[in-house]
């Protein structure tokens, strides 16, 4: 399954624009929303190949969004990869619970757009599942 569509949920304008710019240049279709509520609605309305999820978001936190999408009995986004991107390292409990539902958990300050693209490409390689 080739990765094509990406949803970026990120409230920092500079960071959001930076990711969107590079991802678009790399050929991905990117939608970008800035608050948690919109993020959850968008993620449920359209199927994305990858969701880039910030944690500290207005309205609704990344942890809550992930919980709403994957915490229940049914995985609402079974075909989507979730990459958590944060600069606030969580306490262990919430980090572990996020890691459980996400494909990657990354510190934004260590992930440049180039590295982000290589992470997404890796997800693509790994997703050749039966």
């Amino acid at each position: 399954m080739a990765i094509k569509t990406i949803l970026c949920i990120e409230d920092d304008r500079f960071i959001g624009e930076m990711y969107v710019r590079s991802l678009k240049k790399a050929g991905y279709e990117v939608d970008w929303v800035v608050d948690g509520n919109d993020g959850l609605i968008t993620a449920r309305n359209k199927q994305y190949d990858v969701i880039l999820l910030d944690v500290m978001l207005p309205e609704r936190r990344g942890t809550e969004i992930l919980d709403a999408l994957r915490g229940g009995k049914e995985d609402l986004i079974p075909k989507t990869h979730v990459v958590v991107l944060t600069n606030f390292q969580q306490d262990d409990e919430s980090r572990i619970s996020m890691e459980k539902h996400a494909d990657a958990y990354l510190i934004k300050a260590e992930i440049t757009p180039k590295k982000l693209i290589s992470v997404i490409e890796k997800l693509e390689d790994n997703s050749i599942t039966p």
């Binding site: 500079f14 930076m18 590079s22 934004k108 300050a109 440049t112």
Partner: protein, 509 residues
């Protein structure tokens, strides 16, 4: 099999003793009589006409026994009297009647004096006792009124005294336990272990030791002074000075620092991100020294990001929130994650970086990002404290159950007096304050990280000739079992190893 005997009391001595002696007399008399009888029968000395002698001997036996026992009681009477008095002096429940020294017989024999002396000694002993009790209670009341904690422990490290202020709780076994959360490998138990092996008297001071975890109610901070006197009844005495007032402010500052550092990461993300993107996009546009200047931007932003990581980890460590996720890794793979950055940093400052790891190096148990941070700090220091054009060597070798990774420079080095203080927080040598910029937390957090791996960090240095910092990390195979048991967190390792940081587990003596 060894059977544990309970110690007997003085009052139990007499009945046992007298029973044994009576038994001895009866037995020996009977045996003698029987032997004598047998000899007579055997030698046929007794004829039927002499049978009456047989009967008389038989009748005399009980009389003989009675006389023997009477003699025993009479002979042991003074001993019994002395014991009776001694039991009274020991304070045990009296089992023997108290002898009267003033009987005529005692006066005549002079035994009266002996008994009298013990009675007098006993009386003065009794007089002393209330006084000692009174003193003890005054001291204990006084100690309860101070805001210092006092704890006395016996040689089994059991708490035998603690005043009100002391951070103590009683555990489910009814034993008193000390609530102190020590930092690093420098715990009370570790110190006592060392004392038990090599000291007769010793003293040690810890500062900023909390009794509870952050966010727990009534958290206090103490400076702890411990005195050790081998084999004394109170082998270890702890004096705890409550410094909550001044240290709590520091804690609040730590929260602020952590928050501020997280905030700094936002702009850093954008700076690093665009530099990375623009480096490619501007590759053909930059001219002259511009590519080099661009490099400097990249190096500086990476260093800034490294410092922020140091600050965050330090604040986590100080609040006892630093946690490692250890997994099997190779030194080369860890170095790979910082290799580009290090090359860039060394190049930008005109240093030669030589990195060589043997291919057959065993895997280690490491938290990749944290060890990367440690190596980054050491190389950064080597760059700072060496001269232009200097070589920085990074090598690794096996040493017992550990892999030693060394960062060697031939820079300015340092005198011995500096080495011992090097890993303290905010420590900066006199010289480095003048010539090199820095915060003094790089080595502090590096040691914290390495020790939380169950490893060690050490330094060898010669003033004017450079320094070698060595990080020793456990070979994965030697700790794999512990790690698997501990779900790859560092706790299993640490509890067994240097007892460094036990996240969310209290120190219990």
């Amino acid at each position: 099999m060894e059977v544990k005997k309970t110690p007997k009391l003085a009052s139990q001595f007499w009945p046992d003793f007298i029973r044994r002696k009576v038994r001895l007399i009866v037995l020996t008399q009977i045996i003698i009589a029987l032997l004598f009888g047998l000899v007579l029968i055997y030698t046929a000395s007794i004829t039927e006409s002499l049978l009456w002698i047989w009967f008389i001997s038989f009748l005399l036996l009980p009389l003989q026994l009675a006389v023997g026992i009477l003699i025993l009681f009479s002979v042991t009477k003074p001993t019994k009297d002395l014991l009776g008095v001694i039991i009274k002096v020991t304070g045990e429940q009296p089992t023997l009647p108290l002898p009267n020294p003033n009987t005529t017989k005692n006066e005549q024999t002079g035994f009266r004096d002996a008994l009298q002396t013990i009675y007098e000694l006993s009386a003065s002993h009794d007089q002393d006792k209330p006084e000692t009790d009174e003193k003890a209670s005054i001291i204990s009341d006084a100690l309860d009124m101070t805001n210092c904690g006092f704890i006395a422990m016996d040689k089994n490290r059991r708490v035998i005294f603690a005043n009100k202020t002391a951070p103590i709780h009683t555990d489910t076994n009814g034993e008193k336990a000390i609530d102190l959360i020590f930092n690093g490998s420098d715990t009370l138990n570790a110190w006592l272990d060392a004392c038990a092996q090599e000291s007769v008297h010793d003293e040690h001071v810890w500062t900023r030791i909390p009794d509870h975890l952050p966010n727990e109610e009534g958290r206090r901070f103490f400076d702890v002074i411990a005195s050790y006197h081998k084999d004394s009844a109170t082998e270890t005495v702890l004096t705890l000075i409550d410094r909550t007032g001044s240290y709590v402010v520091d804690e609040e500052n730590l929260d602020f620092i952590s928050f501020a550092a997280h905030e700094l990461r936002g702009p850093i993300t954008v700076i690093k991100g665009y530099l990375d993107v623009l480096e490619d996009e501007l590759a053909n546009v930059l001219t002259d020294d511009q590519p080099e200047l661009f490099h400097r931007l990249v190096v500086s932003s990476n260093r800034l990001s490294g410092y922020i990581d140091n600050i965050l980890n330090t604040s986590r460590y100080d609040r006892r929130h630093l946690k490692m996720n250890l997994s099997e890794d190779t030194v080369a793979a860890i170095y790979d994650t910082i290799s580009d950055d290090m090359k860039l940093r060394a190049g930008a400052q005109n240093r030669l970086l030589s990195v060589a790891f043997p291919n057959d190096l065993p895997t280690i148990a490491a938290d990749r990002a944290s060890i990367g941070e440690v190596l980054g700090n050491l190389i950064d220091n080597a760059i700072k404290y060496s001269n232009e054009g200097g070589i920085i060597k990074v090598i690794a070798k096996v040493d017992g159950d550990f892999v030693d990774i060394s960062v060697e420079d031939n820079g300015i080095g340092m005198p011995e007096s500096v080495v011992s203080q090097l890993f303290q927080k905010f420590y900066r040598s006199h010289r480095s304050r003048e010539t090199v910029a820095g915060s003094g937390i790089g080595l502090y957090i590096s040691r914290a990280i390495v020790e939380s791996h169950g490893g060690k960090i050490s330094v060898r240095s010669e003033d004017g000739h450079g320094s070698t910092f060595t990080v020793s990390l456990p070979i994965y195979a030697t700790v794999a079992d512990k790690l698997k048991a501990g779900d790859n967190s560092n706790e299993g390792l640490i509890n067994e190893g240097n007892g460094w940081i036990k996240n969310h587990s209290m120190y219990r003596s």
